[in-house]
Each structure stands twice: as structure tokens, then as C-alpha cells.
Amino acid sequence: MADSIYHEMKKEGVSRRDFLKFCGLVAGAIGLEALPPVAGFHDVAAKNEQPLVEWVAQALESKPRLPVIWLEFQDCAGCTEALTRSQSPTLVDLVLNKITVEYHETLSAAAGFQVEGAKQMAMKKYAGQYILVVEGSISTADDGVYCTVGGRSSLDLLKEAAAGAAAIIATGNCSAFGGLPRAKPNPTGALGVAEIITDKPVVNIPGCPAIPEAFTGTLAHFLVFGSLPELDHLLRPKTFYGVTVHDRCLRRPFYEAGKFAASFDDEGARKGWCLYKLGCKGPTTYNACASMKWSGGLSFPIQSGHPCLGCSEPNFWDGGGFYQGQSAPLQRSNLTQVGIAAATGVALGAGVGIANARRRKKPVHSTEPEKKE
């Protein structure tokens, strides 16, 4: 039996006080106190009447580090970059280094057969216990030939790794919903994890990239409670994806007041007015950007002056265009189609109209003027 996390930290010289502080950080990462409730937690907490920090402490004291296997397929590695380039190393770094142990292609110093071998070993050793993290979409067209690692298709690799996973976290829009590769016409047949793996619990942490804290918070949740947080219909944790960007946006008062930036860097934009007219998809985008923000709470796209792209929603690349209004239709009739429609109307109208006009000319058998009373 491996050492518990607490014990490992103790070995490294972390004091009890610092450990409890760390537990507080983890509790915060899970986001339970600030954000929507998690199924089951409140009941249990009520029964035991103990604060969340103590829950976390108990878990970290009794459980060993969480094995994590991280696979990348059709991706840009942006989600990994976001995690590792995080401005606040403390939280993310601690979660990744203290709580988990992993096989990660991008981060591994090793390469080729060695790293493949390490992965196979990890999958065997932690069978049934590891968290499989998937980044990037899976190519399914033409037997998945468009994405191969070590000569094997991403489809194969996913199925193999999913077989022994306790749960799967699809991080980033690509692994959740297909992402950029899935944009029309989707030549590689890109799909998200949940559309392929249906016999294992899957959590989607979409975003382009996913907010690092959303990912780490979900990991921490799994560690502490041994289960996945409450998910919405798109398998996203309600903690982080329970409200729209619009509902927490700092520019919302300007939306309500009808003060919009009409173009980039115009007077309104400089005054921080709402970016709805510039194509902001905030109203239909469920994500924690506006509340948790990025780079450790530094900022998020709207705050920095760019409209929300809707990157945590399915098919946002085909969502009408980043600068087209959120309310605009996804498919517009082009001039040719309208022309044909109008021409059809004219032809039909003229046909019926002329037939009607001819009917008008038909003589009427009218009564003779009456000659007597």
C-alpha cells in the first residue's frame, strides 16, 4: 500500500500547519464553497457537521497519490500549456505534484519506446484506479489514420487506455466535443471522448484551453470524495460550468444599460463597455471565466477587451463566427438562394395571378332590369 499524501508531504518536511493550509487551498480548488453545490456532499457534511477543510485533510491523510495517465491526440497541447504555464504555481503545481503521479507525453523528458513502456506499466500497475486524462480529439475517419502515436490510431489508444480507467477527464474542447478539428467539414472525423467511450464515467472540462483551476479542482474532488462532481447534460462539472459567462461578467451592467462597443478600440471599448455587438457569446457560454478568470484570477477575454468565443460549448468554431452576434442565425440564405426563392414566388404568383385575371374577364349572366313590380 502506497504512502498517503500527507505522509509523503511530511517526509518532504511540510509542517502540519502548512499541510492544513494546503488542504484549505485544495478545498478552494474544488470550489465547493463558492460555487454550486455538489450532490451528496451537503447531506454528508450536514450529518457530520464538519467543515470542508477537515474533509480534505481526512482524505489526504488516508489516501495515496492519485495515478493519472495523460494522453494527447489531435490537439495543440494548449490545455497542458495552460496548466504548466500557470501564473500561480502554488495551486496547480501542488495539485499536480503532490496529489498526482502521471504519465504525460508532452511533459515527459523521455520519449519513444521508453515512454510508451512507462505508460503500459502504469496502466497495468494502477488498473481500475487511474484517472485517464484526454487532451485533443479522436480521429475516426478512414480507420483513424489521421492521428497515430507509435503507429497506433488515437481511437485504438483511447479504447485501450479507457478500459482500465476509473474515470476519464476530457480536458479542453477538443476531447470534450471535438474542438477545432471537428469544424466543418471535419475531414478527420474528429469526435469527443464521450461519443466513443460510453461504459466509463466521463467528465468534460471544455474550454480552449480549459481553465486550469477547473481541471485541478475536478481532480481534487475525485481524490477527496472518490467520485465525480455533479455534471450537467454535457458532462461538465456544475461547479465550474453551472452559470454562463454573461451571468458573472463584469461588463453586464453595460449590457443592461445598452452601452456597447461598436468596434474594437472605439470610445465605448476604451470605456469598458459591453462587447455583445462585437460578437460576444457570453450569454450562451457556460464556463467559469468571468468568476474564476485566468492566470490565477488576473483577467479573462472580455475584461481584456475581446468578446467571448464560447469555447466551452460544442461546435463553437461553427458558431456563426467570432464577431457575428450571438443571436444571429447559424445558417443564412445566400443571395442566390433568396433570388431563387423570390423567382419561385414571382413565377407562381404570376401563374396564379394571370389565371385569376382571366377568370375575371368571364362574362356574367346578369339579370334583366325588371319591367314590372
Binding site: N356, R360, K362, S366
Partner: protein, 422 residues
């Protein structure tokens, strides 16, 4: 398909060009037109709603000229028009509509319901579905030249009597006269003093005018009936007389629908002889006052509260709205009171459009007149003046029927009585 219904439908369709069709399409079934109809307001009968009055026209149009209408007919959601329905609508359209066209002013889409109801009458007339009383009057006009039986002889003798009784010169069939004056038989037979009054005004203005034996009747019962054929027939009598006498102008005396028929409809029904201006006596009097051809005693009628009833076909549909105000402004600057509403928004007397000629319509005609009574009572009118003798007939009959204490006066009479003779 029932025989008469087919005739009616054929007529409706014949009349339905872009003018009719675009307006039938514009209707949103909002029902506001009913609020403007004095017959609906007086009785509360929803069948008097103007939109319902054109229902047959709409059905004929939809069932033949629109795809949706044809489909509904084919699957049985809509039914063909029946002879029975023609009869029902005949009652509504002839007895409970005076063609006053106030409904068009209330319609949010501005639909000209009056003209559309006229098209309904055209279809009913072609199918022979006209109330008996009205048809009797039409036939009388056909055979005797006037619905009130004002034959050649009757006219001649009446005119002689008026000339004698009021000592006024009534030029008859004067070739080369400038103006042909055509009276209505209502004036000749019921309000003969009007003849004398108008003659007096014309003489005072130095008008070169004449009457015509052949063109003696300005009333047009073919127009009431809605028969284009008979409307034109009666109009032709007047135009022929005008051409024959070589006049440059025709003056319609105190009659409303005659002005509508002659001035505003004839050109679209027939070849109207060129170079002949058509005007109404109230417009002519206004012109005389403006150009100083006649002068009136100021304040001649002050002392009794006097009001003016706008005739639908002379004011709202004729445009001679300010002339009566000018006249009464001179005659009763202190005692004149406007009814409310007035001018183009005024309330119809309830007797026009042929209604007063139909006995069965009496109850509803009297009910409608109660609105006028309320209007007059609100301003405390002791005298009510008007420029249409059909209105005058209605007012006179109703004043008697309701035992009212109000004097009914023709505007021309008031003018004639106040002329300053030189």
C-alpha cells in the same frame, strides 16, 4: 353551385382587381370597423360590422383566387356561398348600411370598406337579391325618370307651381347657359321651397343657369342598388342633357349620393363628356361668398343654437367641409355649435344609401338616429342645418317619429333667406 350565388360570385370576381384584392388581403380581422358603424353602435348586432358586410366578397375572392382558399374549400373547411346567404347578406348590406364610409377612417389598415360594400351590392344586384322596396324605386326611376314618380309632366307642373308660388324665375332647357342645375326629386316633391331658395341664390350671383326637362333627376337609385348598368343609365340622362344644352358646369343640388355618383364615380364607369365641371351647390355657394358674388346678413340666425349635420357624401366623401362653416360663421357667429364628432368624422344620419326607401329598415334606421339625437342634445341644438335632402328627409321623419323639438333646415334655404339683395 346555386344559380344566383354563381351570378353573385362571378360579379364579385369580376370586380376584384388589385384595388379590391389588396384591401381584402390587408384585413387583420381586428373588428375595429364595427366601432365606427352607427348601426352596430345603435343595436349591438355583430352582423352589422362592416367587416362582416364584405364577408361574401372575401369568400368569393379567397375560394377562387387564393391557393389557401381553394384548398380549404376542397377539404371542406370552407363552404361555397349559397342563395340563402345572399338573401341574409342582402338584408344586412342594404338595410343596415348607408355607405357612409366612416368605417374606413377607423380601420388601422385604412381599408375602404364603403367602396367594398358597394361591390357587394353589385354582386347582389346582379343576382337579383335586392330588397323589394328598393327595386321598386329603381324600376320607377327606369320607367318614370324618378323613384318618386317625378315624370316629365309632374316635373313640369311642379316647377311651374314653384315659380309661381315663390315668384322666382326657373329657366328651363336654356341652350347656351353656363350651368345646368339638377335637383333631386326629394327636393322637388318634398322640399319644394329648396328649389326657390337655390334659384334665388343663383340669380343673386348672376349665374347663367338652366334646368333640364330630360335631365331633371339627380338622384341615382341604380347607384344605391349597386348596378353599374343602371347607374350609368341614370347618369347618362344628365350628361346627355348637359351636352345637349352646351353647359360648362353641372351643379348637383342638395343631394349626397348623387354627388358621389356624378362627381366621383361616373368617370370610371362611362365616357364622361369632356369640358364639363361638376360641383355641389354648397361648394358653389362657398365660391360665391369667396368671390363676393353674394352677400349675407351677418348674424341673421343668431339667437337660436344652430348646429350643422355633415352629410357623408358631401362632406366626408365630397370634400365640401369648410363651406358650411364659412356660411354658418357668417349667419350665426355666436349661436353656431359644432356637433361632436364633426367634419369628416361625423356620424351618419342613418337614412342614406337607400335605407330610408326600405320599409323593413325602419326600426334600425330609427335606432341609428338616436345617436344623432344624443349629439344634438349635447350641444343644445335648436336648429340643425344640412346640405343633403336625403338627410333632411331622415331628420324630418325622425323628428316627427321621436317628437323632437328641433328645427330641421336646408343650408341653401338659410342662405337664401339671409341674402342681401342689391
Amino acid at each position: 353551385m346555386e344559380a344566383q350565388a354563381q351570378i353573385a360570385i362571378d360579379t364579385f370576381l369580376r370586380q376584384t382587381g388589385g384595388y379590391v384584392a389588396s384591401q381584402l388581403e390587408a384585413c387583420t380581422r381586428c373588428g375595429m370597423c364595427a366601432e365606427a358603424c352607427h348601426f352596430y353602435e345603435a343595436t349591438g348586432n355583430p352582423e352589422y360590422a362592416p367587416v362582416w358586410k364584405i364577408e361574401l366578397l372575401k369568400r368569393a375572392y379567397e375560394q377562387r383566387f387564393t391557393l389557401v382558399g381553394r384548398a380549404k374549400l376542397a377539404i371542406g373547411v370552407d363552404k361555397l356561398i349559397t342563395d340563402d346567404e345572399l338573401l341574409q347578406f342582402s338584408k344586412i348590406v342594404y338595410e343596415a348600411c348607408t355607405m357612409c364610409n366612416k368605417c374606413s377612417m377607423v380601420c388601422p389598415m385604412g381599408i375602404q370598406l364603403g367602396p367594398l360594400i358597394h361591390e357587394v351590392r353589385a354582386g347582389l344586384s346582379a343576382a337579383g337579391m335586392v330588397p323589394q322596396d328598393l327595386m321598386k324605386a329603381v324600376n320607377k326611376q327606369l320607367e318614370e325618370g324618378s323613384p318618386l314618380g317625378m315624370t316629365d309632366e309632374v316635373y313640369e307642373s311642379r316647377m311651374e307651381w314653384v315659380a309661381d308660388e315663390w315668384e322666382v324665375d326657373l329657366p328651363m332647357d336654356v341652350k347656351g347657359a353656363e350651368t345646368l342645375v339638377v335637383f333631386s326629386s326629394i327636393e322637388v316633391m318634398k322640399f319644394p321651397e329648396n328649389i326657390a331658395a337655390i334659384a334665388k341664390i343663383l340669380h343673386a350671383a348672376g349665374e347663367k343657369w338652366t334646368l333640364s326637362q330630360a335631365g331633371r333627376e339627380v338622384v341615382n337609385f341604380g347607384f344605391y342598388e349597386g348596378s353599374e348598368e343602371r347607374t350609368v343609365l341614370f347618369l347618362k340622362r344628365i350628361f346627355d342633357a348637359a351636352v345637349q344644352l352646351g353647359v360648362k358646369r353641372i351643379v348637383v343640388t342638395e343631394c349626397g349620393h348623387a354627388y358621389d355618383a356624378l362627381r366621383w364615380t361616373s368617370y370610371n364607369l362611362m365616357e364622361v363628356p369632356p369640358g364639363i365641371e361638376i360641383t355641389h351647390i354648397v361648394g358653389l355657394i362657398g365660391e360665391y361668398l369667396r368671390t363676393g358674388r353674394i352677400k349675407l346678413k351677418e348674424g341673421a340666425l343668431d339667437g337660436r343654437t344652430i348646429t350643422f349635420h355633415d352629410a357623408c357624401k358631401i362632406q366626408r366623401r365630397g370634400g365640401h367641409i369648410e363651406e358650411p362653416r364659412t356660411i354658418l360663421g357668417i349667419l350665426a357667429p355666436h349661436s353656431f355649435r359644432e356637433l361632436s364628432p364633426n367634419r369628416e368624422e361625423s356620424v351618419c344620419c342613418g337614412g342614406g344609401g337607400g335605407v330610408i326607401a326600405i320599409k323593413e329598415a325602419d326600426p334600425v334606421r330609427y335606432a341609428a338616429f338616436e345617436l344623432k339625437i344624443q349629439q344634438m342634445q349635447r350641444v343644445g341644438a335648436q336648429t340643425v342645418a344640412m346640405s343633403c335632402s336625403n338627410c333632411r328627409l331622415q331628420f324630418t321623419d325622425c323628428v316627427q317619429h321621436f317628437n323632437l323639438d328641433v328645427k330641421v333646415a336646408g343650408l341653401s334655404q338659410l342662405v337664401a333667406d339671409a341674402l342681401i339683395e342689391e
